[in-house]
């Protein structure tokens, strides 16, 4: 099947996923390398691409040539060479800075806690990258995420949790709509194996990244110092840490440096009257104040989320789902209803703790991802506080 240009045409959605032209996003890590290898082994025509996402010049050049993480790019290239697929580096640094890094900084500045990985999947991997891939005649983008795409009889697609719940990454893919899913391939999704077994598979395939340590940090904050990164971009502004009564209990160097539910790093001189640990309850960037209090005060019974994205048809009315409120978070029973705005109103069967505005709420029906939205405000059990 070829199109007018003599290139392979759009795939029949009901056809078996074989022999497609696949663009494999390769970070230089073990997961994406094994994913690309599996896609190639399954009979797809795979091309590897490493995304250069930051423009830090790391070597002496007369031109303005910059490159992010030359080592990762080299590792990805090495893996592609072993798999035997073409490999390119695409410079998406400008898009990434605008859509992910600037957004990350702005969200913290506004007192929220963003998830840049989710944002990157939504705006970069399955938007900028996917669009370019489709334009160049590829049928799908393949990544090393642990999630499962299920093809239904009617040709539609559903996103499900990975077979191995412990490694499931469907949360950070919850922003994908059905059109994006139709061109997504996650070869690791049905892996019922430990990370050690993925490493063993990489070893067996001759991939040198088999022994590379996992990356957990935010990729554009190489040293893992998020506070330092934010301070560099937002400066420092000393402000008060107050308790629930409004009494000053300490000072901080910038309200943006805190996350709802945070306990460590508050540096409050004297203990609370009840002797119990205190947690960040509220962040108010407007008056640069951080409110702390006991753990019970973190209990949230309801929330409002904005920018809902549905994987398939949007639900017409209220429904009962399980929800995940942060990466690696557990599941909780909720009732959710889309309302005008567009917004999503969510109430919890049981109070939950540590819900931070800016994070995503992803709704599931069993293992199926129904949709996601960005948490805007929460309703506390103790006092109906509205977080900005």
């Amino acid at each position: 099947m070829t199109d007018s240009l003599g290139f392979p045409g759009a795939p029949d959605p009901t056809a078996p996923r074989k022999g497609l032209r696949v663009l494999a996003a390769m970070s230089g890590g073990v997961d994406s390398a094994v994913a690309a290898a599996r896609a190639a082994e399954a009979g797809h025509d795979v091309t590897g691409v490493h995304l250069a996402l930051s423009a830090n010049p790391q070597s002496f050049r007369t031109g303005a040539r910059g490159c992010c993480t030359i080592e990762d790019s080299r590792d990805a290239r090495r893996a592609a060479d072993v798999i035997g697929i073409p490999f390119y580096v695409w410079d998406l640094a400008e898009r990434f800075r605008e859509d992910v890094v600037d957004d990350f900084i702005a969200e913290y500045e506004a007192g929220r806690t963003p998830n840049p990985c989710l944002r990157c999947n939504e705006k970069i991997k399955f938007a900028a990258l996917l669009d370019k891939a489709l334009a160049l005649g590829f049928d799908a983008v393949c990544t090393g995420h642990y999630a499962t795409v299920v093809l239904k009889d009617d040709g539609s697609r559903e996103l499900h949790r990975a077979s191995d719940m412990a490694k499931d990454q469907s949360y950070v893919l919850g922003v994908l709509d059905e059109k994006q899913l139709a061109h997504a391939m996650f070869p690791l999704g049905d892996t019922l194996t430990t990370k050690e077994e993925i490493r063993a598979e990489a070893e067996r395939r001759g991939l040198a990244v088999a022994k590379k340590p996992d990356s957990h940090d935010i990729c554009f904050i190489a040293d893992g110092d998020t506070q330092g990164f934010l301070a560099k971009h937002l400066g420092t502004a000393e402000g008060d840490i107050v308790d629930e009564s409004g009494a000053k209990v300490g000072t901080h160097e910038g309200a943006y440096g805190f996350t709802i539910g945070q306990r460590k790093g508050l540096r409050i001189g004297h203990p609370a009257p009840d002797g119990k640990p205190r947690y960040v309850l509220d962040i108010s960037p407007v008056n640069n104040t951080v409110t702390v209090g006991p753990v019970e005060a973190l209990d949230v019974i309801a929330l409002t989320a904005i920018k809902p994205r549905w994987c398939g048809v949007a639900p017409a009315g209220p429904g009962t789902y399980t929800a995940q409120l942060r990466a690696h978070g557990g599941e909780t029973e909720v009732t959710a209803e889309p309302v005008d705005g567009p917004e999503l109103r969510v109430s919890f069967a049981e109070p939950v703790r540590g819900v931070a505005p800016g994070q995503a709420i992803v709704l599931y029906d069993g293992t199926r991802v129904v949709g996601s939205a960005t948490i805007a405000t929460t309703v506390r059990a103790a006092r109906a506080t509205q977080d900005a």
Binding site: L5, G6, G63, L136
Partner: protein, 389 residues
């Protein structure tokens, strides 16, 4: 598979492979005094003589290096240091802005670390330096110029520089000129003695010899300060045990390249002309880079800019169809940037993102041209739909 990237590297000539493998089986350090050393030294010196003959130089003017990059560094840094040592006022380096990175980054480094004032000579729309521009630059203060470095022919857009004229101008002021002739060797007549150059770079793997070997042709009166210190081999300017098999194979390839030059240039020139015609027919708004006059460009080079296309996209789509070429500027780190050469010719930066270089060599055929002719139209159309990211 259509291999059209001979300017990056070209297959070794069978004669060179034979010379190299024969030498690999033998032992001997060319600096040793015993019989094995004498055998190796004889091979090296015979190789030096044949390369000198192929390049219009004296044998003593051939300094073997590990390749073009090292020869460029030795010439640019070494001559700068030597000239400045002789007269501290000489700190100005005149370079073309279209040099290969081996020269460009070396002069840039001199500016950053050695107090050099680097001045880039103006080029025309074909990337050519003119003699009057060089004269003007030198005449502003002839006493502070350490050296001039202008390549013999450009590796990306193929433009041939008026090397003899440039060397003549510099000679009036007693200023040494270095030329990177890596791409010119085997395509243009190179006569080092007649050129008036102080130093000239050539490389093995661009003329059918092995990788990892090159030479700096160095006038006898010049003693650059070494970049690499050690045992004092190669006139004390380039220390290190010589790679005898590579030297022998380079000499064989270089000799054949010089012998076959005219016929080779005619053949690849005809293929190149066909390719240019086919590409412009299939993509009427493609822009031919460099000098449109065949006499003004390397016969093996064709360079195009395709409006609205990303060079990387073109490369990917052609690669998928078995056509191997280049955007013109290889970046080992991987991120493609508009070429400094194309930008220096005054090309619009967006247009400069969509460049392709096709380069021919001794294994090229009309089948290669036909493959490009068939593919380029749809490939450009497809790349255009992906746009500039």
């Amino acid at each position: 598979m259509a291999y059209l990237d001979h300017a990056a590297t070209t297959p070794m000539l069978p004669e060179a492979v034979q010379a190299m493998t024969a030498q690999l089986a033998l032992t001997g350090n060319a600096s040793s005094l015993h019989a094995a050393g004498r055998r190796a030294r004889r091979t090296v010196e015979e190789s030096r003589e044949s390369l000198a003959a192929a390049l219009g130089a004296r044998p003593s003017e051939v300094v073997f290096t590990s390749g073009g990059t090292e020869a460029d560094n030795l010439a640019v840094k070494g001559l700068f240091w030597a000239r400045r040592d002789a007269d501290p006022a000489r700190t100005r380096v005149l370079a073309s802005p279209v040099e290969h990175h081996a020269v460009l980054d070396a002069v840039h480094w001199l500016g950053e670390h050695e107090g050099a004032t680097v001045e880039y000579l103006p080029v025309d729309a074909y990337g050519r330096v003119h003699a009057d521009a060089l004269r003007e630059a030198i005449a502003r203060n002839p006493d502070d110029v350490a050296l001039v470095t202008v390549m013999w022919a450009n590796n990306e857009i193929g433009t041939i520089m008026p090397v003899h004229e440039l060397a003549g101008v510099a000679a009036e002021f007693g200023i040494p000129v270095h030329a990177d002739a890596v791409q010119a060797f085997g395509q243009l007549e190179l006569d080092f003695a007649a050129s008036g150059l102080a130093a000239m770079t050539v490389s093995g793997h661009k003329v059918g010899g092995p990788y990892g070997i090159g030479a700096l042709l160095l006038g006898r009166q010049y003693t650059p300060v070494p970049v690499q210190h050690g045992g004092g081999q190669e006139r004390h300017v380039r220390s290190g045990t010589l790679d005898v098999p590579a030297v022998a194979a380079f000499a064989v390839a270089g000799t054949l390249a010089a012998e076959r030059r005219e016929a080779h240039a005619r053949e690849v020139g005809a293929l190149r002309d066909e390719l240019v015609e086919a590409v412009l027919a299939a993509v009427p708004d493609a822009v031919l880079g460099g000098d449109p006059d065949p006499a003004g460009r390397l016969p093996a080079n064709a360079h195009f800019s395709f409006p609205g296309c990303e060079g990387d996209s073109l490369l990917l789509l052609l690669d998928a169809r078995g056509i191997e070429c280049s955007t013109g500027s290889a970046c080992t780190a991987g991120v493609a940037q508009p070429s400094h050469v194309v930008l220096a010719t005054g090309t619009d930066p967006d247009l400069a993102r969509g460049t392709l270089r096709f380069s021919f060599g001794h294994t090229s055929s009309r089948a290669d041209v036909r493959a490009v002719a068939d593919a380029i139209g749809p490939v450009v159309e497809r790349a255009r739909s992906a746009g500039l990211s």
